[in-house]
C-alpha cells in the first residue's frame, strides 16, 4: 500500500513517553547503584575503624599485663575495667591466655555463646575478622604478645551506625536525585520529541511533495484519497467528488526541442496557473512527468466541467520559453465519485482513461463514460499489439491502381496499409494509423513501410514490372534524421531504381518546421524519388507550401471529385489545380473516381491520371500484379464496364 510510509512517519507519538520512561528507569538505576555503593563504602570504612580500635586495645592490654607484677586475674580485672566503658551495653568478650593460665571476662554473653565464639575464631572462615553467631555479627581481634595472647570480641555496631547515619541522608538525596531526573526526563524527552517531530514533518513533506513544483505527489494523493473515500467511522463521509487527470499535450516536444530546463519551466508555469484556478478544498497534485491530478471533494460533474474548461483555457494561453511563445495545451479526463468508481485507484484509472480519450479527440476535456471508453479500451489493446504487428509483419500493403485515362493502363500504384490482425481480421488504416501516431512509433512505422515497398519494388523489378509504387508518409516521418540514408541504403541493397518509388506526403494539422521538411524532401528528391502532395486542396496545402516543396505530383482530394458533376465550385477548383500543375510542371492525379461520367468529365478537363474504385479497389499484391502483367485496360471508354474487384 502506498500510504504506509506516511503512516509510518506519523506513527511517532510514542517517542515521548518512551523517552520519559527510559530517563526515569536510568535515573532509578543510577540512584540505586549510587546508594548501594555509598552504603557499602561507609560500612566498610566503619568496620575497619572499629577493628583498628579493637586491635589497639588488645595490644595495649597485652603490654600492660606484661609490665604489672600481679596475678593475672587481678591485673586483667583492673585493666579491663579501666579500658572498657562499664556503661557500654555492647556484648563483648575478653580472653587472655598465657603459657600457664588463662582469664576470661564476658559482657551480656552466655557461656555457651562465649565458647562458640572462641571456637569460631580458632578456625576463622575468612580473614575479615567478622563472624556470625546466632544471627549476630561479631568483630574479633587477637594479639599475640611475648607473654600473653589477648583475644577481644565485640558485637559490631558499625553496620547499625552506618544505617542510622547514612541511610536517611542517602534516602533524601535519592528523592532529590529522582526529582531532578524526572524534570530532566521531561525536558529532554520534550526537546528530543520536538526535534524528531520536526524531522518527521520535513521527511513527510519531502516524501509527499514534488521537489520541482512544490506540489503534493502521488503518495500524498493516495493518502488523501484513502482517507476521503474510505474514512474511519468518526470522519465525516464524503457525498461526492471529482478527480481530474491533466496531461500536457506538448510537454515532450518542449523537452526534446528546448531541453529539460525549459520543460521544468513549463511545468512550474502550468502548476502556478492551475493553482490559481484550483481553490481549496480541491488540491492540485503532480504525479510525475507532465501529469497532474486534481482531487476536488464535494464537486459534482457540472462543476467539474466548468473547472476543466477554465483549466484548458489556462493551458492554452502561450507560455514564454527561451523567448518563444509555446502553446502547451492540455487534455483533461474527469471521473466522479461515487458514480464512476468508489476506490481511489479505480477513480484514477477512470479519469486517466477519459484523459486519453480527450487527447485522442483533441477536445480538451472529457468526462468518463463507460460507452465511449469501450472504444478507447479497444484502441488501447490495439496499441499494445502494434509492436508484435510490425515484428511479425502483420501489417501488409494493398495496392490501388493509378490509371492513364487515355490508354486505360496502370501507370502506377499506391501502396495502402492493411493490418492482418490475428483476432480481428483485416483492419483498414483508419483503425490504426492514429494509434501509431499517438504511440510515438511514427518513424519506426515509416521505415517499416518504406522497407516493405522497396522489397516489393525489387521483386517486381526482377520480374520485369516497371510500375512505380507510391507510399504515404506523414511529415513526422521526415523528422527522422536517418530516413534518407535508410532509403538510400535499402535502394542500393535491393538494386531498386529510385524512379520506382514515389512518396506521397500526407498532411495533417501539425505545422512542422517547414525548413526541415523541405531539406529532408530535397534530399529524398536528390535520390531520384518522386514526391507527391496527397489530398491537395485541403489542410495545409497552401500555394506557398506547394512552391516551397517543389513536388512532382499533385493529387487532387477526393472531396472535389465526388460531386464534380453537380458542384461548379469544385469543378472550378479542379480546373485550377490542373492549370496549376501544368504551370509547376508536375503531374496531376485525381483520386476517388467512382463513376464513368466522373472519369469522362475529368478526362475532358485535361486530367490524365486517375485513381478510384471505378478502375480498381486496393488489391493484394498478386491480384494487382496480375492486372499489370496482363496489361489489362481498366478504362476502355465504354459504358457498362464493371470495375475489377
Amino acid at each position: 500500500m502506498p500510504t504506509q510510509p506516511i503512516n509510518h512517519i506519523k506513527r511517532d507519538a510514542s517517542v515521548r513517553p518512551r523517552l520519559i520512561v527510559a530517563c526515569l528507569v536510568v535515573s532509578v538505576l543510577i540512584s540505586s547503584i549510587y546508594v548501594t555503593v555509598s552504603y557499602r563504602l561507609t560500612a566498610d570504612v566503619s568496620l575497619q575503624t572499629e577493628l583498628k580500635a579493637m586491635e589497639k586495645l588488645a595490644r595495649l592490654l597485652s603490654s600492660e599485663l606484661t609490665m604489672l607484677d600481679y596475678p593475672l586475674e587481678d591485673k586483667a580485672d583492673s585493666l579491663v575495667n579501666l579500658l572498657s566503658d562499664p556503661n557500654d551495653k555492647t556484648p563483648r568478650l575478653f580472653y587472655i591466655q598465657s603459657s600457664s593460665e588463662d582469664w576470661r571476662r564476658a559482657h551480656r554473653l552466655s557461656k555457651a555463646e562465649q565458647i562458640q565464639l572462641l571456637t569460631s575464631i580458632d578456625s576463622p572462615p575468612d580473614d575479615t575478622h567478622l563472624i556470625t553467631v546466632n544471627d549476630r555479627s561479631f568483630l574479633w581481634q587477637k594479639y599475640r604478645g611475648p607473654e600473653f595472647t589477648v583475644t577481644y570480641l565485640q558485637q559490631t555496631t558499625a553496620l547499625d551506625m552506618t544505617l542510622s547515619f547514612v541511610a536517611k541522608r542517602l534516602l533524601i538525596t535519592s528523592v532529590l536525585v529522582f526529582w531532578i531526573s524526572v524534570w530532566l526526563a521531561l525536558t529532554l524527552s520534550s526537546l528530543i520529541a520536538k526535534r524528531a517531530q520536526e524531522i518527521n514533518d520535513a521527511l513527510a513533506k519531502i516524501a509527499t511533495h514534488d521537489a520541482l513544483t512544490g506540489l503534493p505527489n502521488r503518495l500524498y494523493l493516495m493518502d488523501t484519497l484513502s482517507n476521503a473515500l474510505c474514512p474511519n467511522t468518526s470522519a465525516k463521509s464524503l457525498l461526492n467528488g471529482s478527480l481530474f487527470v491533466i496531461d500536457l499535450d506538448k510537454f515532450k516536444e518542449v523537452n526534446d526541442s528546448f531541453g529539460h530546463s525549459a520543460g521544468d519551466t513549463l511545468l512550474k508555469e502550468v502548476a502556478a496557473r492551475l493553482l490559481k484556478i484550483v481553490t481549496p478544498p480541491a488540491e492540485l497534485i503532480r504525479i510525475g512527468g507532465d501529469e497532474f491530478i486534481i482531487w476536488a471533494p464535494e464537486l459534482d460533474i457540472d462543476g467539474a466541467e466548468a473547472l476543466a474548461q477554465q483549466m484548458v483555457n489556462a493551458c492554452d494561453t502561450p507560455i514564454m520559453i527561451n523567448g518563444l511563445a509555446v502553446n502547451t495545451g492540455a487534455s483533461i479526463g474527469i471521473s466522479h465519485y461515487p458514480s464512476h468508481a468508489n476506490e481511489p485507484e479505480a477513480l484514477i484509472v477512470c479519469a486517466d482513461t477519459a484523459m486519453y480519450k480527450a487527447k485522442e479527440q483533441r477536445n480538451g476535456w472529457q468526462v468518463y463514460d463507460d460507452n465511449k471508453i469501450a472504444d478507447y479500451k479497444h484502441n488501447l489493446q490495439l496499441r499494445a499489439e502494434l509492436n508484435d504487428a510490425m515484428q511479425q509483419s502483420q501489417i501488409i500493403l494493398h495496392y490501388q491502381a493509378k490509371v492513364n485515362l487515355e490508354t486505360g493502363l496502370i501507370v502506377g500504384v499506391e501502396g495502402l496499409c492493411r493490418w492482418e490482425h490475428p483476432r480481428l481480421g483485416l483492419l483498414m488504416p483508419g483503425q490504426f494509423i492514429d494509434l501509431i501516431e499517438d504511440s510515438g512509433k511514427v518513424q519506426e512505422f515509416g521505415r517499416y513501410i518504406i522497407g516493405k515497398v522497396i522489397q516489393q519494388a525489387a521483386m517486381w523489378q526482377q520480374q520485369g514490372i516497371q510500375v512505380p509504387i507510391a507510399i504515404n508518409l506523414s511529415p513526422y516521418n521526415l523528422l527522422d534524421p536517418g530516413l534518407v540514408t535508410y532509403i538510400h541504403n535499402l535502394l542500393n541493397e535491393n538494386q531498386v531504381s529510385p524512379q520506382l518509388i514515389e512518396i506521397e506526403l500526407t498532411e495533417n494539422e501539425t505545422c512542422l518546421n517547414i525548413k526541415y521538411i523541405k531539406a529532408a524532401l530535397e534530399k529524398i528528391k536528390s535520390l531520384g524519388i518522386a514526391l507527391a502532395i496527397d489530398d491537395f486542396g485541403t489542410g495545409m496545402s497552401s500555394l506557398a507550401y506547394l512552391a516551397h516543396l517543389n513536388v512532382d505530383v499533385l493529387k487532387i482530394d477526393r472531396a472535389f471529385v465526388a460531386d464534380i458533376e453537380d458542384n461548379p465550385g469544385h469543378r472550378a477548383i479542379v480546373a485550377s489545380a490542373i492549370t496549376l500543375s501544368q504551370s509547376f510542371g508536375c503531374k496531376m492525379v485525381v483520386e476517388g473516381v467512382e463513376t464513368m461520367s466522373q472519369a469522362r468529365l475529368l478526362h475532358n478537363m485535361g486530367c490524365v491520371i486517375a485513381q478510384g474504385y471505378l478502375f480498381a479497389k486496393p488489391l493484394p499484391e498478386e491480384k494487382i500484379k496480375a492486372h499489370i502483367v496482363a496489361a489489362k485496360t481498366l478504362y476502355p471508354h465504354s459504358e457498362g464496364l464493371i470495375a475489377s474487384a
Binding site: K168, I172, L176, L186
Partner: protein, 71 residues
C-alpha cells in the same frame, strides 16, 4: 518566556503540599538530617514547589511544552 499558568488544581495543590512539607522539614527537622547541604537542597526543592503553588506555573513543564491545565 511569558509566564502562563500550566498547572491544574490537583497538580498545584499537590505541589503546594509537597512544598510546605519539604520546606518545613528542611527548616525544623532538628537532628534528623544533621547535614546542612541536604537541608539546603530540600529547602530549594520545597521553595520551588511553593513558587509553583503561588504562580500556578512550572518552568520545566513550560520548557517541555506540557500543561496539565488543558486536560
Amino acid at each position: 518566556m511569558a509566564i502562563e499558568s500550566n498547572l491544574n488544581t490537583v497538580d498545584r495543590s499537590l505541589r503546594g503540599l509537597i512544598g510546605i512539607g519539604v520546606t518545613a522539614f528542611a527548616l525544623f527537622n532538628g537532628d534528623i538530617i544533621d547535614d546542612v547541604f541536604i537541608e539546603v537542597l530540600l529547602g530549594i526543592f520545597g521553595i520551588l514547589n511553593l513558587i509553583s503553588l503561588a504562580s500556578g506555573w512550572c518552568p520545566v513543564y513550560h520548557i517541555a511544552g506540557i500543561s496539565t491545565r488543558k486536560q
